[in-house]
C-alpha cells in the first residue's frame, strides 16, 4: 500500500491546509496592532498585555483549571474501572445498559446532558458552583477515558495476568503490578483527554455552573458573541501554543518509550 498517487497527495495537502489555515490566521492576527482584526497594522504584543491585566479572565482560568484537574482525575479512576469491567467483567446483570451508558455520552448532544444535569441538581437542592461542574464533567469524561483504556485492554495479552495469578499474586496485586504498568500509557492519555474536554466545555458548564462560578469558555463565549476581538485571538494563541507543546512532548515521549520497550525485548531475547 506504500504508493501515494497524486490524488492522495492533493487530498492530504488540501485537507491539512483546511485544518490549519484558520488557526494560523488567529495566531498571526493576535500580534496585530489594530483593533480591527481583519486589517493588518503592524506587529504588536499589546493584546497579550491587556489579557494578562484582565482579572476576570484570570479568575475564570483558575476556576477552569481547578475543575479540569479534579474532574479528570476522578474520571480516570472511574473510567479505568469501567473499562476493566467492560473488557474483563464477563457477564453480569445489566451489562447492556452499562455499555450503553458508556457509549451514549460520547455522542450525546451537550444541550441535553447539560439541561438534564441542571434539573437534577436543582431537584436535589445542590448548590450550583464548582462542585456541580466537576460532577458534570466527571460524568461525560469518564466515558471517554473508558473507551481509550478499553481499546488498550482489548489488545493486551491476558496470559501475563494469568501468569501472575498462577504465581500466587492476588487479583489486586496482579492488576497493580502487571496490568496497570502495561495500560499506563492509555490511562495517561485518558486523563489528558478528560482534562482537555473539561477545559474546553462551554455548554454543559453554562447549564451547571450557576451564577457563582464562571469558566474560561463561558468568559470567551460572552465576548465572542459580540464579534471578533483581538484579546480573544491572543488567548487562543496561548491555548493553541500550550496544546501544541503538550501533544508534541507526549508523542516524543511515547516514541521514546516504544524504542526503549523494543530494546528491552531484544535484550530479553538475547539473554533467554
Amino acid at each position: 500500500m506504500n504508493r501515494l498517487s497524486p490524488f492522495n497527495v492533493v487530498s492530504l495537502t488540501l485537507g491539512f491546509v483546511f485544518l490549519y489555515i484558520p488557526m494560523l490566521i488567529l495566531v498571526v492576527y493576535s500580534f496585530n496592532a489594530s483593533k480591527l482584526v481583519t486589517v493588518w497594522a503592524g506587529f504588536s504584543t499589546q493584546w497579550y498585555g491587556e489579557l494578562l491585566r484582565n482579572e476576570s479572565f484570570l479568575d475564570a482560568a483558575w476556576v477552569t483549571l481547578r475543575v479540569a484537574v479534579i474532574s479528570s482525575t476522578i474520571a480516570t479512576v472511574l473510567g479505568t474501572m469501567a473499562a476493566y469491567v467492560l473488557v474483563r467483567g464477563g457477564r453480569f446483570f445489566g451489562r447492556t445498559l452499562f455499555s450503553g451508558m458508556i457509549y451514549a455520552p460520547l455522542v450525546m448532544p451537550e444541550v441535553i446532558t447539560g439541561l438534564s444535569l441542571l434539573l437534577l441538581f436543582i431537584g436535589t437542592g445542590l448548590d450550583r458552583g464548582v462542585l456541580t461542574i466537576v460532577l458534570a464533567h466527571t460524568t461525560f469524561s469518564m466515558c471517554f477515558v473508558s473507551v481509550v483504556v478499553s481499546s488498550r485492554l482489548v489488545t493486551f495479552d491476558r496470559s501475563l495476568e494469568e501468569a501472575a495469578l498462577d504465581l500466587g499474586a492476588s487479583t489486586f496485586d496482579a492488576f497493580r503490578l502487571v496490568t496497570l504498568p502495561i495500560i499506563a500509557p492509555a490511562v495517561i492519555s485518558g486523563w489528558l483527554l478528560a482534562f482537555t474536554l473539561s477545559l474546553d466545555d462551554l455548554v454543559i458548564a453554562s447549564f451547571t455552573a450557576g451564577p457563582s462560578a464562571t469558566t474560561l469558555p463561558m468568559k470567551i463565549w460572552s465576548s465572542v458573541r459580540l464579534g471578533v476581538s483581538p484579546e480573544i485571538n491572543a488567548l487562543s494563541t496561548i491555548l493553541i501554543g500550550l496544546v501544541t507543546v503538550g501533544v508534541v512532548v507526549a508523542s516524543l515521549a511515547t516514541k521514546r518509550a516504544a524504542v526503549q520497550a523494543a530494546r528491552d525485548e531484544q535484550a530479553a531475547a538475547r539473554t533467554a
Binding site: M1, F7, N8, L19, T38, L115, S116, V247
Partner: protein, 291 residues
C-alpha cells in the same frame, strides 16, 4: 466481592448522573411553568396522586402548535445529514491517503489530524467568524483574485454552519476510517488487480466494504452530536439558521421556560434513540471483534 464493588461504583455513578437526570427531564416536561425559581411547579410534595394528576402533555401539544419547533427539528436533521456526508467526502480521501503513506510518515500525519481535536472547540469555531464575514479573509482573498466583484454573504447562513461542522468534526471522521483502512490487507487489492479488476473497481468492491465499520462509526460520531449542536449555529449560523440545540438553549436561558425546554429535549432524545442504539451496537461489535 471485589468484582461486585468494581462494577457497582462506575455503574452507580452513571445511573445517578446520566440516566436518572433523563427521568427528571421527562417529569419536568410534563409540568406547568411557574413564575418562581425554579420556574416550574414542583410536583412531588403533595403525594404521588396529586403529582400525577398535575402532569399533562400540554408542553408537547404546545410544540406541535408552534411550527418553529417542527422547522427547527427538520432543519437540524437536514443540516446534520448534509454535513455528515460532506465530512465523509473530505475525510475519506484523507484517511485513505494516510493509510497509503509510507510507514515512517504515519505517526506525524496522525498527530496532525489529532492536534486540532485537542485544541479548544470554541476557538476553532470562532476562527471562522473572521474568515467568513463580509470583510473577512475569504472575501478579501477572492476579491484580490478577481473571482468576485462584491463580497459573498457566507456568515450567518447555513453554508457557514456546514463549513463549521465539517471543520470541527473532521478528526472524528478520519480516525475511525483510518484505523479500519490501516488494518486492511493490501494483498487483497493486489489479488483483485491481478485477477483483472480495474483500480477503481477494486477500490469500490474491496476497500469500501472493508472500511464500512470505520465509515459507520465516523458518521455517527459526526451526525449525532451535530444534530444537537449549539455553538456552531449560534456563532456562524446567526438568525439565518434554525437548529434545535439553539432553540433549546434560548428557551431555557432567555425565555426561562424550563418545561418547554425539557419537552424539546425529550423529543430530541426520542429522535436520537435509533442512531444511538445503532452506534452502540457498532462500537460493541468492534470491541468484541478486536478481543
Amino acid at each position: 466481592m471485589r468484582r461486585a464493588a468494581l462494577i457497582a461504583v462506575p455503574y452507580a455513578w452513571l445511573l445517578a448522573l446520566f440516566l436518572i437526570p433523563f427521568a427528571v427531564v421527562f417529569k419536568i416536561s410534563l409540568s406547568d411553568i411557574a413564575l418562581a425559581i425554579p420556574p416550574y411547579t414542583p410536583t412531588a410534595k403533595d403525594g404521588i396522586w396529586a403529582m400525577l394528576s398535575q402532569l399533562d402533555f400540554e408542553n408537547f401539544v404546545f410544540l406541535t402548535e408552534d411550527d418553529l419547533y417542527w422547522k427547527a427539528y427538520l432543519s437540524s436533521l437536514q443540516i446534520a445529514a448534509v454535513s455528515t456526508v460532506l465530512t465523509l467526502l473530505v475525510g475519506y480521501p484523507m484517511a485513505y491517503a494516510m493509510a497509503r503513506a509510507p510507514e515512517a510518515w504515519r505517526p506525524t500525519l496522525l498527530m496532525l489530524v489529532i492536534l486540532p481535536f485537542w485544541t479548544s472547540f470554541l476557538i476553532r469555531v470562532y476562527a471562522w467568524v473572521g474568515i467568513l464575514s463580509n470583510e473577512g479573509f475569504l472575501n478579501q482573498f477572492l476579491l484580490w483574485l478577481g473571482v468576485i466583484d462584491t463580497p459573498l454573504t457566507i456568515l450567518n447562513t447555513p453554508t457557514a454552519v456546514y463549513i463549521g461542522i465539517v471543520y470541527t468534526y473532521l478528526p472524528f471522521m478520519i480516525l475511525p476510517i483510518y484505523s479500519a483502512l490501516d488494518r486492511l490487507d493490501g494483498s487483497l487489492i493486489e489479488a483483485a488487480e491481478d485477477l483483472g479488476c480495474s483500480r477503481f473497481k477494486a477500490f469500490w468492491l474491496i476497500t469500501i466494504p472493508l472500511s464500512k465499520n470505520g465509515i459507520i462509526a465516523g458518521s455517527f460520531l459526526v451526525f449525532i452530536p451535530a444534530l444537537g449542536e449549539f455553538v456552531i449555529p449560534s456563532l456562524l449560523g446567526g438568525s439565518g439558521t434554525l437548529m434545535i440545540g439553539k432553540v433549546l438553549f434560548e428557551e431555557f436561558f432567555s425565555n426561562r421556560d424550563w418545561p418547554v425546554a425539557s419537552a424539546v429535549a425529550v423529543i430530541l432524545l426520542l429522535i436520537l434513540v435509533i442512531p444511538l442504539v445503532l452506534f452502540q451496537r457498532n462500537q460493541q461489535r468492534q470491541t468484541e471483534a478486536g478481543a
